[in-house]
């Protein structure tokens, strides 16, 4: 089936079998390798992307379902080559990652939260990230990163730039 897929603000027509997940379409057809395959059954959150600004698991969506939905992947966050957005930079600042495999999903889940709430409590941060499993960090520096990003967003009167995509 042919589906127009809008990812990071660009729409491309792809040809997929109905059984192809959004995750596989992003990786294999659009070459966006920043979205990672973890469990393929909706538990680990490594494949998290934003759909119309909300964090979703791309392994639990079919590509054929996604026409008309603005998808944002990790590749869509950085404002420019070599430039990091506020959330990405905060993850670097606190070392909110180690192997980097769950990181794109984690950052997108955090971005989804901060887009709605730029002053989250510790509990709200934990709740927003609870569907993303990290085996390296024990979450401490991740939660610090999200809190730091929130602080900087508030200080700069900014929210993550999702509007272009969504």
């Amino acid at each position: 089936m042919r589906v127009p897929l809008t990812v990071n603000g660009t729409t491309s027509e792809i040809d997929v079998e109905p059984r192809i997940t959004l995750l596989d379409a992003l990786r294999d057809l659009l070459g966006l390798k920043g979205t990672h395959t973890g469990c393929e059954h909706g538990v680990c959150g490594a494949c998290t992307v934003l759909a119309d600004g909300a964090a979703v698991r791309s392994c639990l969506m079919l590509a054929v379902q996604c026409d008309g939905i603005a998808i944002t992947t990790i590749e869509g966050l950085a404002p420019g080559p070599g430039e990091l957005d506020v959330v990405q930079d905060a993850f670097c600042e606190t070392h909110g990652l180690q192997c980097g495999y769950c990181t794109p999903g984690m950052i997108l889940a955090a971005s989804g939260l901060l887009a709605k709430n730029d002053d989250p409590t510790d509990h709200e941060i934990r709740d927003a990230l609870s569907g993303n499993i990290c085996r390296c960090t024990g979450y401490g520096q991740i939660i610090e990163a999200v809190a730091l990003a929130a602080r900087r967003l508030r200080q700069n009167n900014l929210r993550p730039a999702l509007d272009d995509a969504g």
Binding site: P18, T21, D24, G42, G45, A55, L60, Q65, G131
Partner: protein, 290 residues
């Protein structure tokens, strides 16, 4: 873990969806996909086609219809959780929804999808059971309404007609009186399928006596269970007395044991959670001036 092949069909109307389902007995409805797609990936499920109803306008939305709160089957859990109507008219459902999965699964997961998959741990099914919601299917031209107690058979299995389409769930509106809801569940990790859960809606008369206590427990057996506490109707609310009635009502509760919890644990936990849920609900009802 790639699904076996299937066809994909996105109907625009209930009639079109029903016609497709009638003509394709091996087809399945795709609502939010948060339960079905993992089953496809593991090849536990292999439908001939998926009928994607996620964007069907007739199936989405939350509105009042007479004495019911009508929630379209394809309404997402996140939308229902954020809905002021749900908070006002079905506070128990709202509490239940806050326990469903994780934020990213609630964005896609739907009210109808959760009901149709009939997981005994599912919070929405439990809330529907406790509140006595009507589960409404369309099969061809026929509308079929199910009471939850007649609907759930076991995990993934319901009495729904094979070619039917779940169109909406009708929850009774907030009852008269002082109303409070409580919902508690336990799982090794928050957000997992509950190994035991309980929800309660306490309605008090103006003088603080019980008008009704609706209680249900989930996660312990094949189906969510409604617990009859009608003997407490009209009595003053006394926690010890309620505890006695609840313990007696749940003493013979049929529970399953599995690697996450023994049957005996589930039974004790169900009683404990039931009392906590009733306690929460009562506290809220006492604050409710309505």
């Amino acid at each position: 873990m790639k699904p076996a092949p299937f066809d994909y069909f996105r109907p625009v109307s209930i009639g079109e969806a029903c016609a497709f389902l009638a003509a394709n007995p091996e087809a399945r409805v795709l609502a939010g996909g948060q339960t079905l797609i993992p089953m496809l990936a593991m090849r536990l499920a292999r439908p001939s086609a998926l009928v994607d109803v996620t964007r069907m306008r007739e199936l989405t939305g939350i509105d009042l219809a007479g004495d019911t709160l009508r929630i379209g089957a394809a309404t997402t859990q996140a939308e229902a959780l954020d809905s002021a109507l749900v908070a006002r008219e079905a506070p128990l459902l709202r509490l239940a929804l806050s326990n469903v999965g994780h934020p990213p699964t609630r964005v896609r997961g739907t009210i109808g999808g959760s009901i149709a998959h009939a997981d005994p741990s599912a919070e929405i099914a439990l809330a529907a059971t406790i509140l006595g919601a009507s589960i409404v299917y369309r099969d061809g031209d026929e509308e079929i309404r199910f009471e939850p107690v007649d609907f759930f058979i076991g995990p993934t299995i319901t009495t729904a007609p094979p070619s039917g389409l779940l169109t909406h769930v009708a929850f009774p509106r907030r009852p008269k009186g002082r109303v409070g809801a409580g919902f508690r569940e336990i799982a090794a990790r928050r957000g997992d399928y509950a190994v035991a859960s309980a929800g309660a809606q306490v309605v008090l008369h103006g003088d603080g006596t019980c008008a009704s206590i609706a209680l249900g427990v989930g996660g312990v057996g094949d189906v969510p269970v409604n617990v009859d506490l009608s003997e407490l109707d009209g009595t003053p609310f006394a926690f010890d007395r309620v505890a006695g009635v609840v313990a007696a009502a749940l003493a013979d509760l049929e529970c399953v044991g599995d690697l996450h919890a023994t049957a005996s644990y589930r039974r004790r936990a169900a009683i404990q959670l039931a009392m906590q849920a009733i306690g929460d609900a009562h506290a809220v009802a006492m604050e409710d001036a309505a």
